[in-house]
């Protein structure tokens, strides 16, 4: 028997949300040459029962939502987390004033999923 839950709207489902990270906001503008900031995004939203394929869920997450629907107090919903990320490259000065181009993986959230 499932507990009464507020209706889940499409906009509240787990999905990537826009987040722009500005390096000057974190005080790194003195040594990072480029980019000055980038669209990093983040994941937010609900993972309601029943989980659909669009929510990039695992078998475990599907079962967890089932258990959650039976016992909302004892078992939480799965988490909305990044499931596909992409890299960016950053150009910066190091402590010896050399220019460095470094490739960083997992910097941009492309897809979110319920896990």
């Amino acid at each position: 028997r499932s507990a009464q839950a507020p209706p889940v709207t499409l906009s509240s489902l787990c999905k990537p949300r826009q987040l722009y990270i500005s390096f000057s906001d974190v005080g790194w503008e003195n040594w990072i040459i480029a980019p000055q900031g980038y669209m990093a995004n983040y994941c937010l939203g609900e993972c309601p029962f029943p989980l659909t394929a669009e929510l990039n869920s695992t078998n475990h997450a599907i079962l967890q939502t089932m258990v959650h629907s039976l016992d909302p107090e004892g078992t939480p919903q799965p988490c909305c987390v990044p499931v596909r990320l992409s890299p960016i490259s950053i150009l910066y000065y190091d402590n010896s004033d050399n220019v460095v181009l470094r490739h960083y993986e997992d910097m941009v959230v492309d897809e979110c999923g319920c896990r």
């Binding site: 974190v26 790194w28 003195n30 040594w31 040459i33 480029a34 980019p35 596909r84 992409s86 890299p87 960016i88 490259s89 150009l91 910066y92 000065y93 190091d94 402590n95 010896s96 004033d97 050399n98 220019v99 460095v100 181009l101 470094r102 490739h103 960083y104 993986e105 941009v108 492309d110």
Partner: protein, 242 residues
Amino acid sequence: SAALATQLSLQESLQESLLLKSLGLSTKPSPKTHAPVPSVLWRIFQRRKTLPALSKDLGDACRVEEFNVPGNIIRVFADQGHFIHHGQPPRLLCLQKRLYFNLSVLEEGERLTMAQLEIKFSHNSYPSPSPSQGQGLELRLYRSSRLPLRGTPAPERGQKLLVERSFVQLHKSLVFDLSGVAKDWRTHSRNLGLILEIAWSGGDGASALGSGGCTSISSFLDTSLLVVTLSQQQCGASRRRR
């Protein structure tokens, strides 16, 4: 409230240092000079920026496609060596310079996969009086085997010749592969730098110095060392995940 502010500031700096560590940096860099960005790095940066997300995902992030070598960090080291000035210039020698690149910033977990020396001139030039007379310039690059002594700049003894090349035309940019030497500097021997010599060939000393044989190298700008490394910590982890 002062104690709370101090605690918050400490927490912030701890978080920042953790974040910098995850980016592979031990401390927040504080450059003293903002040197111009080498064009090769701009080019690679711009190309990567314009790649669609899907291509980035499929491509090997731990490979530098432009040079076809493994790596995720590209550095351009500025030359810190000085010109070697002789009291009396040896015959035919147009330029003699010590080259020194401080590779000590490379971390232990980084594997050096490529080192490329670039010698830049402001424009292409032809040695005068005439290349057709069998005259030209010779470039020699030696590996220095001892520290330079203050006040006694030359001559060096026991230098190992790395490169010897003759030129009828000096191009704007000359590039030499120094991967082996740079790897050796990191593993077996101390980095004592290099000696660059450009000399006039095929004529006599008078034509080199008197009639301007050496003038073609007056456009000499500078030298830099481009080094590609692979951070085992970051690239090892991504390979295991895949």
